[in-house]
């Protein structure tokens, strides 16, 4: 599979490395060139030597998304630190590039729920934290 991940933060870079280890083609896009370090950290080879791709571009730039391979992506993951950026680019991937599978990180539980109804696969870390905290706090 060809997996495109936008946002090389803690989540994006960790998922990217696991996907590469699992034998997939992985392309990562981030506006900050220094974010590349997270992909190399604690690895014996660099990200590129291991077969990964990396593109420096702002997430909303169509040319950048195309350079990162969005037209051939089987999976698109929006994992920048901004909910609004993630929701806009994932819908661009959905409507303009017809990417078959779209995963989007949304910190706001209300919007994560609503956009999930609109056909996006949303992951809400806040909701996960609430659920876990509730279990732990209310446990006997």
């Amino acid at each position: 599979m060809f997996i495109l991940i936008v946002g090389a933060g803690r989540v994006g870079s960790a998922v990217a490395r696991r996907a590469l280890e699992a034998g997939h083609t992985v392309s990562v896009l981030d506006s900050d060139p220094l974010s590349h370090e997270r992909l190399d950290k604690d690895q014996s080879t660099t990200w590129e030597d291991a077969g990964g791709r990396f593109t420096v571009s702002t997430a909303l730039e169509i040319d950048g998304l195309i350079a990162a391979g969005i037209e051939n992506a089987d999976v698109f993951m929006a994992a920048t630190s901004g909910d609004n950026t993630n929701l806009v680019i994932s819908q661009i991937a959905q409507r303009r590039f017809d990417v078959p599978k779209i995963v989007v990180r949304v910190a706001d539980p209300a919007r994560a729920a609503w956009y999930a109804e609109q056909g996006l696969i949303t992951i809400c870390p806040t909701q996960k934290a609430i659920d876990m905290a509730e279990q732990v706090v209310l446990a006997d």
């Binding site: 909303l60 609004n84 806009v88 819908q91 661009i92 409507r95 209300a110 919007r111 609109q118």
Partner: protein, 227 residues
């Protein structure tokens, strides 16, 4: 009419003021607390503090009964999502979004957020209007209605120059609606004659420009022959 405006910058604040002066009911939403304090001194209860990309903030402002939502923050992603949620989740009939970076205009269209207004784009069109060598100027594009109005200069030796309006062969779906001559405009009749140097306004289905412009284009061979 109940109007919700998001973003109390210069555009949002002045828009609120104007609408309130016209006796419209307005709620302005601002996410920066300092800015909110400043605007609140003048607009009082008409301004609320909060991040309008969050649904509960829109609900607190009464989005369920809003007739119009205008998103004019300095952030294009915010403007897109506020309008999208207003339209698709809350069924608001009319939305207006501000485009800060004209390169993002396509994103507004892709996500169904129309009309999207870009100041940069408007100023560019005005510049084109003042610089005639561009030939064709798009004056107005009604995306949803599939109509646009363009302005063309009538070139010397073109088919249109010296012809009556009814004799200019135009494709189905286009119409000459006005002629500008010596600084004034008039609405032509079928037998009005078009002169070289006139500017004509046409209304048309988008995509017909390619068939229309040759009728008004200067005939190069005739010009060079005269020289």
């Amino acid at each position: 009419m109940y109007v919700i405006i998001v973003g109390a910058g210069k555009v949002g604040w002045n828009l609120s003021r104007e609408l309130i002066a016209r006796d419209q009911e307005v709620t302005l939403i601002e996410s920066d607390h300092r800015r909110y304090r400043i605007v609140e001194e003048e607009l009082e209860h008409a301004v609320q503090y909060g991040d309008a990309t969050e649904m509960w903030v829109l609900e607190r402002a009464g989005i369920q009964r809003a007739d119009l939502v205008i998103a004019v923050t300095g952030d294009d992603e915010d403007n897109i999502l506020i309008c999208q949620v207003a339209k698709e989740k809350y069924g608001v009939e009319r939305i207006v979004a501000r485009v800060n970076n004209p390169r993002n205009l396509d994103h507004f269209k892709t996500l169904g957020v129309q009309p999207a207004v870009s100041a940069t784009d408007l100023i560019l069109r005005l510049i084109e209007h003042e610089v005639p060598e561009y030939g064709l100027v798009q004056l107005l594009a009604l995306e949803e209605e599939h109509l646009e109005i363009i302005e063309l200069e009538v070139g010397e030796g073109s088919q249109a120059a010296g012809s009556r309006v009814q004799d200019v062969t135009l494709p189905e779906g286009s119409l000459i609606i006005s002629v500008l001559r010596d600084g004034t405009g008039f609405v032509p009749k079928a037998d009005s004659v078009i002169n070289a140097g006139d500017q004509v306004l046409l209304i048309l289905d988008p995509g017909l420009e390619g068939e229309i412009t040759p009728r008004f284009a200067q005939d190069e061979s005739q010009i060079s022959a005269r020289k």
